[in-house]
Symmetry: C2
Subunit: 322 residues, 2 copies
């Protein structure tokens, strides 16, 4: 089952169920006006939504206008982003010139959750000098998770999988990181691909709490990376359990994987510019790739072996904030 | 004007305006069902709410049952907590055994905002071994603040002032801080005192974006501290501007001061246990005060020179999570 959110003038948008070919949809209706409402009562909502999915499979539905699609969750109560790809973490130490991070638990920070840009929204930033970078990620949306839930039990709370661009301002990241307080300036709002998919919708692409799909990223029309999500050091169920260790997780909490990375980065590329710069530093002593300029376009879509983009595509232009 | 939120079975509760003696109230009504709804259209809502306040001043209203009061904002889209008292920051380095933090900007992290405990809610934690600590703070609630708003302009966006207990788990804080990602485990949900006050309600207690009131804290019935909020290195307007440097702030964003502290801590005490332990380390080489036990009670209220508790009191018992 795949879900999307159509713009309807409300902050949370209108929840729709999407057909397998993404050409048609059925509105979830007044009972489930938004995904945020549905995830709060998922055990009831899922049944209703899957009934609509069955009707779509049978050919029902109205035409889906992709131009109206927002982030599946245009806002939520909590966004906790992990950094679960060790290859990325290792390369970021090179990029940032920082010491290795000592940790025996997943790395995770709390980020801005009151706004997720839709898949084709222009993204405003104040200055190119801030080091504008994309970060291709996967994420999961959970229903309510009680404090102390273990990883094995956390798996069942993963209700939907999403694809995220975690926009980052690299020039601001290291000073904030060195305070130990995490990031405020370096982490503005993220973007989401248009479709949230139930884990079963991913088929073999969902294994051991990992999204085993290539995250294909193009920057200004040129292939930048196609790392697969399978190399997470911790599965999403382990990230959920980590997040819930000392807090109840509110329904609608989004947990991120951190930048998708492959140990075979020489062949598949990277999912953020900063990581490519680290690879250049290792090879040449200095980075040669610059961060983004206003007007640049970043496109991301996760492809199955059959070429199906289960989450749809994010394709956005970076703009100067007016 | 003072506002409160009564329990009514909804996640956001029912917004009421409170009489000067806190004995009466008038519901804000269907137009402004909750504070989160009102803060989203504050320029309109404020007029309506102040009209109710005038009627309360004239003696109207129904009896206010304090037992029904929740946090003024039982949940919000964003909670950004500063650490604006240098005395506290200096002492926490002693408590944590960490190096001084190099920074020329306010310190700030993003915390859990999907739940703020009410003033008399019991507060559940998993283990005493986590180092359960209270942190007495002040906070402000803003309406929508555009990205790039300067400190002078930010002042007008401060619509309400609140009093917060930022519960902390000290045994978990340092390892998280050393990752640079900020705190997930060490910062569970906070609590709020029952009344949110417009800045003018504080009179001389609101100066240069600072809450110049003594924050009186009792632990198990014994006076623990009464530090005044005036010694913030940055005013709240500067914290708001800092928060908004690279992001729009959603209406209802809560910005915290960090633990209220006084350079005269020898006489006025502290607003958290960890700070007292640091003072003991400086004096005796080792800390003698232990963190909280299940069943302990923490009471906090901010008193004016005349003895008025503008935000009301937080009085909560720490419990083991079942």
């Amino acid at each position: 089952m795949r879900l999307a959110t159509r713009a309807n003038g409300t902050p949370d948008g209108e929840l729709v169920v999407v057909s397998p070919d993404a050409a048609r949809c059925l509105p979830a209706g007044e009972k489930w006006p938004s995904l945020l409402a549905a995830i709060g009562m998922w055990s009831v909502a899922e049944h209703d939504l899957r009934t609509l999915a069955t009707r779509l499979d049978a050919g029902e539905g109205e035409a889906l206008d992709h131009a109206t699609l927002r982030a599946p969750l245009p806002r939520s109560w909590q966004w906790l982003d992990g950094s679960a790809f060790q290859t990325h973490a290792d390369l970021m130490q090179v990029a940032f010139g920082t010491d290795p991070i000592e940790h025996d638990k997943p790395l995770m920070y709390q980020g801005l959750s009151d706004r997720f840009y839709g898949p084709s929204d222009p993204v405003p930033f104040r200055s190119e000098a801030d080091g504008i970078d994309f970060e291709g990620e996967f994420g999961v949306i959970v229903d309510a998770v009680p404090m102390g839930t273990c990883a094995a039990d956390a798996m069942a709370h993963i209700r939907l999988v999403v694809q995220i661009n975690d926009w980052s301002l690299r020039a601001l990241a290291v000073p904030e990181m060195k305070t130990g307080f995490g990031w405020i300036h370096a982490k503005p709002a993220c973007s989401m691909a248009p479709f949230a998919a139930s884990p079963d919708e991913l088929g073999d692409g969902w294994q051991d709490g990992r999204v085993c799909l290539d995250l294909v990223i193009d920057w200004n029309g040129e292939r930048f990376g196609a790392a697969n999500g399978r190399e997470m050091s911790f599965g999403f169920h382990e990230l959920v359990a980590h997040a819930a260790a000392t807090r109840d997780l509110v329904a609608g909490t989004i947990i991120g994987s951190g930048t998708v990375a492959s140990s075979d980065y020489a062949h598949v590329g990277s999912s953020c510019i900063s990581e490519r710069r680290a690879i250049e530093i290792i090879a040449d002593g200095v980075p040669s790739t610059q961060f983004m300029h206003f007007g640049d376009v970043c496109r991301m879509e996760a492809l199955s072996a059959g070429g199906n983009a289960v989450f749809g595509a994010i394709e956005q232009t970076v703009r100067q904030k007016l």
